[in-house]
């Protein structure tokens, strides 16, 4: 096992983790601040990917498509917050789950009606569809590097926003204790609308950027939604820092599991057993991680509530 292989797998894990962070940042704040379980976050991610595909094809520029998708998804999120989510703030979790699960079904069926049931297969923008030599013997896809860069910039920006601005302070106060923050004059409702829209926009960035790596298809949101929930459980509900650490952990553990576990089992077991066991264990590794965190620190790695 060479150093360049480990490094490349780390980059893969980082890329995957940063995209998971974009998805889980909004989710964790919404859950932390307003105690709303929003299953429709995955649908916003899917919408981002579809908008990017359509707008990218219409304008002929991939990046124009990404920007347009983020704006369009933010508008949809605003409408969603005003029309549906506001009504379930005070409700119990089961009601919220039912309402947002209904949203998933409606979004999925709507997308099927507009864009059709077949997956859209996007291409990486041509200027980035080539490898870049990082070190002698290690070249890495330029597009994935661009994803890492975008994810890192957004993560830093979000972190500064949350920890260095007045509005950010309100957000933190709301996540820590909503009633107390409200009593101190924080306009929680408006802050929350803003948080929801920004969270949706970040999910749309993830959807738009991951479109060319995965495939843009109905149901793509649910797959990542589960991972996003794993992330926020690991990180601690309501904590942006926690969701960043959780995302990177999940990204690296998942990639490393897929990359190294089958080979490791190959040393221990006969090939027939290893080829069955390796992929199976690799796919549940992050759930082991989550169980471990829950066992050791039931509040997550960075608990917000006192």
């Amino acid at each position: 096992m060479s150093a360049s292989l480990v490094l490349e797998q780390l980059l893969n894990g980082l890329q995957f983790g940063l995209m998971l962070f974009l998805l889980s940042a909004g989710l964790t704040l919404v859950l932390g601040m307003m105690d709303v379980v929003n299953l429709a976050q995955g649908s916003l991610y899917m919408l981002g990917a579809y908008f990017a595909a359509t707008l990218g094809a219409a304008t002929g520029s991939f990046w124009a498509g990404v920007v347009g998708a983020v704006l369009a998804t933010a508008v949809v999120a605003l409408l969603l917050e005003v029309s549906v989510l506001r009504r379930v703030y005070g409700a119990d979790h089961l009601t919220q789950v039912l309402a947002t699960f209904a949203l998933i079904l409606m979004f999925n069926e709507g997308v099927r009606m507009i864009w059709g049931p077949q997956a859209l297969l996007l291409s990486v923008p041509p200027e980035l569809a080539r490898p870049v030599a990082l070190l002698p013997g290690l070249s890495y896809s330029a597009y994935r590097l661009a994803i890492i860069a975008t994810g890192a910039v957004l993560a830093v920006a979000l972190f500064l926003f949350i920890h260095r601005t007045r509005v950010g302070m309100w957000v933190r106060a709301g996540a820590s204790n909503r009633r107390m923050a409200q009593a101190m004059g924080v306009p929680i409702r408006r802050v929350f609308t803003g948080v929801f829209v920004v969270g949706a926009a970040l999910s749309a960035v993830a959807g738009a950027l991951l479109g060319p790596i995965f495939a843009v298809q109905v149901g793509m949101g649910e797959e990542v939604l589960i991972l996003a929930f794993v992330v926020i459980v690991i990180g601690g509900i309501g904590s942006v820092k926690g969701s960043l650490v959780g995302s990177l952990l999940v990204g690296v553990v998942d990639t490393a599991g897929r990359a190294f576990l089958p080979a490791a089992f190959g040393q221990l077991f006969p090939p027939e057993v290893a080829s069955n066991l390796g992929p199976a264990v690799a796919s549940v590794l992050i759930y082991f991680l989550m169980a471990l965190v829950l066992f050791l620190r039931p509040q997550g790695l960075f608990p917000v509530r006192g």
């Binding site: 060479s2 292989l5 490349e8 077949q118 297969l121 490898p131 995965f214 990639t255 897929r258 089958p262």
Partner: protein, 393 residues
């Protein structure tokens, strides 16, 4: 609404139902249950099979074996559960005479028993699991395309002929993926440095590609159908591996659907197939020309299989005069050979074809079109490896 109008309406509606019932009673309609993957990452495959099946039906004047045919489609979403529900409905409510269409082997294996135990024939245009080739072979099962291992056996043989000493092999973790790599290894005499099974439906192959780069094999053999293949090959090219390690794939990962999505990086890729655009026979020529004209795209091997499934059903039904209760005769008629897009195809007793397998290469034509070209024959009259375990006569 006045009472008279209401009465008239009721009478009209009743008369219409009666008339339509009588009309269908005049000549029995053959109902075909078409279960296939029509949404998601495998949709291109199912849609190709279905479109070609419908084209064949049109070429046959809307009739199979002389009976007017009706196709009832079910989208299995490549999920065994969805397929089971769909098949139950086709068998019990729609009372179909015959089932066909399934793309993925894990879907077929989940519904096979249901169909066979109901006493209904399943004519497979794609999925050809090893399970149904050996001890579990069934009177009600015929595959008009290939047994899963075959296409990969051909590439394994080709890799041996080209003297690739080491190979890194990958497939999705599902029955056809396992059949694929088993088939490849059966005929590959070099050393397999790594055998990787990925999650079915996985679309990001960065971790696997990094492993390939580190292992430095002479060749990579990857079986990825549909969107999985599109993504694997794109990412393989983006990682700069195309120039470094020879990529070998079966026809599934290098047909028109994948070429359309991947484009230029596909040029030069060698792949195996039991069918090719330029196979010289009148059936194939008509199929290729009309498919392009009707649907505006180049047909894939999946499309050829869908077309052949309809031809096989038509051939079998003709032999029994449209009477599917003469099961042994129906089966015997198809197994003794029918004229397909690949010429005359014969079968082993387990219902799988004995046929030639070709080598194709993706080339760019002077007009910029990227297309598969026939490069030679890898196997002649090749049968599957499991037929001796089948106890059917």
């Amino acid at each position: 609404m006045s009472r008279t109008v209401r009465v008239v309406l009721v009478v009209v509606v009743f008369a219409c139902t009666l008339a339509s019932g009588l009309a269908s009673g005049q000549a029995r309609t053959l109902k075909i249950g078409f279960v296939s993957t029509l949404s998601g990452g495998g949709a291109a495959l199912g849609v190709d099979v279905l479109d070609a099946f419908q084209l064949a039906l049109r070429h046959l004047g809307g009739r199979l074996g002389g009976l007017p045919a009706e196709v009832i489609t079910v989208d299995d979403q490549s999920s065994p559960d969805v397929a089971r529900t769909g098949v139950e409905r086709l068998l019990r409510r729609d009372r179909v005479d015959l089932v066909t269409g399934i793309i993925f082997s894990h879907v077929l294996l989940a519904v096979g028993d249901l169909i066979f135990n109901h006493g209904t024939f399943y004519i497979s245009p794609n999925a050809g699991p090893s399970e149904y080739a050996g001890e579990q072979c069934n009177l009600h099962f015929i595959n008009v395309a290939w047994q899963n291992d075959n296409m990969h056996e051909a590439m394994g043989h080709y890799a041996t002929l080209k003297n690739y000493e080491t190979a890194f092999i990958l497939a999705p973790n599902y029955p056809a993926g396992r059949d694929a790599l088993t088939g490849f290894k059966r005929f590959y005499k070099g050393r397999v440095v790594s055998e990787v099974y990925t999650r079915l439906g996985q679309l990001d192959y960065s971790a696997e590609i990094a492993q390939i780069r580190a292992a430095r094999p002479r060749a990579v053999y990857a079986f990825y159908p549909g969107a999985m293949g599109v993504n694997f090959i794109k990412q393989y090219a983006e990682a700069g591996l195309m120039q470094q390690v020879q990529l070998l794939v079966p026809g599934f990962s290098a047909d028109a659907d994948v070429i359309r999505a991947v484009g230029k990086p596909m040029v030069g890729v060698f792949n195996s197939s039991h069918w090719a655009l330029e196979l010289f026979n009148p059936i194939n020529r008509r199929f290729v020309e009309d498919f392009r004209r009707t649907y505006g795209r180049v047909p894939t091997l999946y499309a050829a299989q869908g077309y052949d499934a309809a031809l096989a059903i038509d051939h079998g039904l003709r032999a029994v005069g449209g009477d599917l209760s003469r099961k042994a005769d129906f089966r015997k008629a198809i197994l003794s050979g029918f004229d397909s897009t690949r010429g005359r195809v014969r079968f082993s007793k387990n219902g799988y074809p004995i046929q030639d397998y070709y080598l194709r290469q993706v080339v760019e034509l002077p007009n910029g079109e990227i297309i598969n070209r026939l490069r030679g024959t890898i196997f002649r009259n090749h049968a599957d490896a499991y037929v001796n375990q089948c106890r059917l006569p």
